[in-house]
Point group: D2
Chain length 347, copies 4
């Protein structure tokens, strides 16, 4: 299956391995004559960049996006927008010790079984490096779907859970701390946990929450291409994601209908929003909100038992510059995928 | 967006409104010369049929599937397989009282806002009646992907939760009770809860769990069309679904990598299976398992406040023959969507 | 390859074999609230029907289209429109003598080699019977793209060629004669030729010309999905078609640029129209016109040498009720495919 | 319509304007572990390059293709193959005189009407420069569909027609002369005609013929995605193409069935090949052959009347370095598109 495109009308196609010379993509289906803020796109990439803070991977990559086509004097021309990003920091010797081993809970093994080859130097196409291209596409998409606003943030790290719901938070302060949790006391505790886990050479999972505001009524479709179905597909296509829920989610499954139903106001808005802004696959004008679960990263700095290509088990030392917790860097990726879904429906 | 097809190589297209004369569909992409067991397809439809037990909707519909093409002497010919099902019980007067009202948490409102019309007599295309066609497509798909086996079952209703994991259950006994929970004591408690909720004119949500066995290593794709992404889309396209998680799911987000990683056996299988049978978007040969959250049905038999078309609020009596709990009838739909996803990858 | 759908936004999916019980299809992507003239759709089917005149196949089929969904009180609802047509005249014994033989220049052989089966009783999916479903889809599409007008007509049969170009013809008189050539003297000669050929048990090819008026400027796309590319695909997907040319066509390849260029009037229209209404893949507002070449039907009433399934050659008598010339009945099919292409771009 | 991809399983997506910095593309759906001959791909590009001979445009562009991903140690990895080509010779001042004018029979006008902008400096995406990317994709595709062999050649220029059919020609000598007509005496006359036309500042059309050998029986589909339909779409998507015919083509429409039918040999091959290697949309193992008509290039070096943006007509001088006849350079593009169609069916 040709697998490297997302969308049917607003289409992002990505290319590139984590240890090749460049990664990049083509955005097709962009309307003409839209003034783009290219610095904002770079700023989103910077939010995903390794080395941006003490709690993320210390790899050094500038991740400067270069646009090759489709933009003239700052405006879209309606033609495909190609872009690339240099891979500056492809120290493949960091991975030499993994050459003959499959890491546990890693795409190494399945990838090899499917394609008969693998890029042990960092995962090839299954590497999260590919998500940098999604951030470019999504950050551009965001500028096409105004006044829609998307706010992703870290709502849990391990067992430290942000107890406030999004209405109790100042969503403009997501970037006020390096964890991207818009509640300072919780952010501090998350940061401490990440540091502790990192010191142990271990990793930790968490949850990204996302709120989408100002989506007009009527976006989506009632049968197979429901808005929530496309959001679910988009989120589960992000590496390390294990779950998606929107509105009342899994908790809602415990409720009775008389408690769960969102009663109307006279203007068509609703008094509660257990529906999460979507009814019957179509937006109802209320805030859309959802949660995305990330497992802990599989690559540890601790020694781990691995499977060798010849079928024996061996303890292998960990090495490299990995994230102890991907959540802070996953925030712009969730943002981006949400924007790609909406652009595909709205353009 | 043309929204009525699922799949890119094995494609199900459905048609029909809940109160039209027929519903049905076309299955395209089926290989030739496969001997079909048409009775098994009907048997799956019977599992979804209303009126099958005391705890589901008492509407009476035989739901007999008629195949029109693509099958000759019991074998597929490689041409499109069209089918239909008569709508025998379209008592639209049951819905007359809703003609001028939008029900809370129902697709009525969003559908009307999007299309400028609505079928108040039971939801049109957003009605769960459409899922009967998915069951036909999925039951047929299952016969094409042998030896894959799919087992969906009810694992919670409201706050009654089946505490055993799927390895502790006898998956051959799913249909041994009318709730489709393969643990008799739990099933009895669920049944009592549903009856109690029904008596109150209320509804209740729950969770369907699903296990897929015998999926060969290598099914799926590493970037956008990950196996888990397609499963998530498929599940979230079922009416009333609020969430999807696979493998360790949301609980996994609390874990450390050293606990969460699935260490290998020498044959490539793994000692644990937090991964849920999928790594990097591709099956690893272990059991695939996931959970799907259903909200409580929005249509109550209790009086509820509704929004009239002219923008006023009014308490409207409930009427009709609805499900107090869709979970037992949702089981074959989850089965079917899983089969459609796998057939699209495997054929 | 799932092969039974045409279009990406306005999608027709067809099903059915020539000797099954029914043929039919699903139209997806139709906007809501459009008042349809269903009699006009039936009238287009009647133009394609066998038995309509002395010069076409004398098979008797009413070809009555029945709509099952997507239309309420004469208006589209925005949901998929399913329809079927009964196969009333499936005298498969007409074909018994062909059971073990591959006819020359017929899909029998390739179909068998590809699928390992074949429907000797009239060609299965490769039978022109399938085009009845295209006529339904196309006739409906026509009603969605007003004020576009499509006029297909027979412009040659064998070596009898209509020498006038479309501007010299009265396009409202296409159905004034049974050949569908809007020039009475030429039509009479064509009719005589068809009768003569028929008497000999032979068949004859010809050309259908088509003019599309009132296409707004800007329909189409500049790279792969050029308007002319989609028209070419649509026409070459009709059974028995061997060629397509638009505007100046093959003759234009002999010209110099200074003669071929269409010089502008001040309002953007052009003085000549060698371009055939399309420049750079996009309509320019002038009439679109093209020609479609049909080979003579392969099935003869004369004895012909055939290949048996066991690899020997044998003279086999012809039998059945075939068209000596498909051109008159191909006219509504060309109309329909043109309408499907335009609807896919314009909706 | 997102328009910049061709294919559904083997997909080429292209980007770039003729006067931007780079053009390029992404090839998705390539199987892993195929040894590529990258020099052969460059060699095909060289066949399309301007400046290669006295009879084509004298623009100087090296057209060196650079691959960015998807190839490791000369072998495909199964991941997307991205590539680019520098635009070295973007002298946009050559086009300054056209800034306010629409050229006759050129995409200028329709493009502007559709997108509200245009790239007067050479046509933007409607420029034939884009076809360089198709040559890269097609040349790579050719290496994946061995032993299929594709031979395109020039069979007419203006009224100079190569009278021999492809069986009378030495197809290995297509590149023996700069016109790419594998019959020396005809090639010389064509060359003279092109020089004469060029001297006059005029342009001339022609026909490219193409033969495809060694296609296995069974490639294609019987309904909408017929092999001939996809070839027709592919060819009509090439700039300046006005017609496509395969096998007996338009001439075949004059024949009787008893003359046109291809009678079998005992091995399933046929004595004649009016069918052109395709029956019922599916290859029959015989040679596939077709003809593609190209109009004369619209851009002349003669003065021509143009339409100004403000709606007045004016004689404008010709300037620039255009092809008097695109046929020799169109040969590798026809080759490439045929290869892309076959790869999409065969992989």
């Amino acid at each position: 299956m040709a697998d490297n495109s997302f969308g049917t009308r607003f289409i992002l196609t990505t290319f590139g391995e984590s240890h090749g010379e460049k990664i990049g993509g083509i955005i097709d289906g962009c309307p003409p004559d839209i003034l783009l803020d290219l610095e904002k796109i770079q700023a989103e990439l910077d939010r995903r960049r390794p080395g941006q803070s003490a709690i993320v991977s210390q790899r050094k990559e500038k991740d400067q996006v270069i646009f090759l086509s489709g933009i003239f004097e700052g405006r879209t021309t309606g033609t495909p927008i190609a872009f690339f990003i240099d891979n500056e920091n492809k120290k493949s010797k960091d991975y030499d010790h993994l050459k003959d081993y499959f890491r546990p809970s890693h795409a190494d093994y399945t990838y090899f079984k499917k394609y008969g080859n693998r890029d042990y130097r960092g995962g090839g196409r299954s590497s999260a490096r590919e998500t940098a291209c999604r951030v470019v596409g999504g950050a551009l998409a965001k500028q096409l779907i105004r006044p829609v606003e998307i706010y992703a943030y870290v709502s849990s790290v391990g067992d430290i859970v942000l107890e406030k719901n999004y209405k109790e938070l100042d969503l403009s302060s997501i970037d006020a701390n390096i964890v991207r949790c818009p509640d300072e006391p919780t952010a501090i505790r998350m940061q401490e946990l990440i540091k502790e886990v990192k010191k142990e050479g271990d990793t930790i999972g968490g949850v990204v929450s996302c709120v989408i505001k100002n989506v007009p009524v009527g976006i989506g479709s009632p049968v197979f291409n429901r808005l929530e179905a496309q959001l679910a597909k988009a989120m589960l296509s992000i590496p390390a994601v294990k779950g998606f829920e929107f509105g009342s989610g899994f908790e809602g499954s415990k409720m009775r209908g008389s408690d769960h139903n969102d009663y109307f106001n006279e203007d068509g808005s609703t008094k509660t929003n257990y529906s999460g802004g979507i009814q019957g696959g179509i937006s109802n004008g209320m805030d859309i909100y959802f949660r995305v679960a990330f497992k802990p990263v599989a690559t540890l700095l601790k020694p781990q038992e691995m499977l060798s290509v010849d079928g024996t088990l061996k303890i292998v030392e960990g090495r490299g510059r990995h994230d102890a917790c991907v959540l802070p860097r996953a925030v712009p990726v969730v943002d981006a995928m949400a924007a790609l879904v909406l652009a595909d429906f709205m353009l």
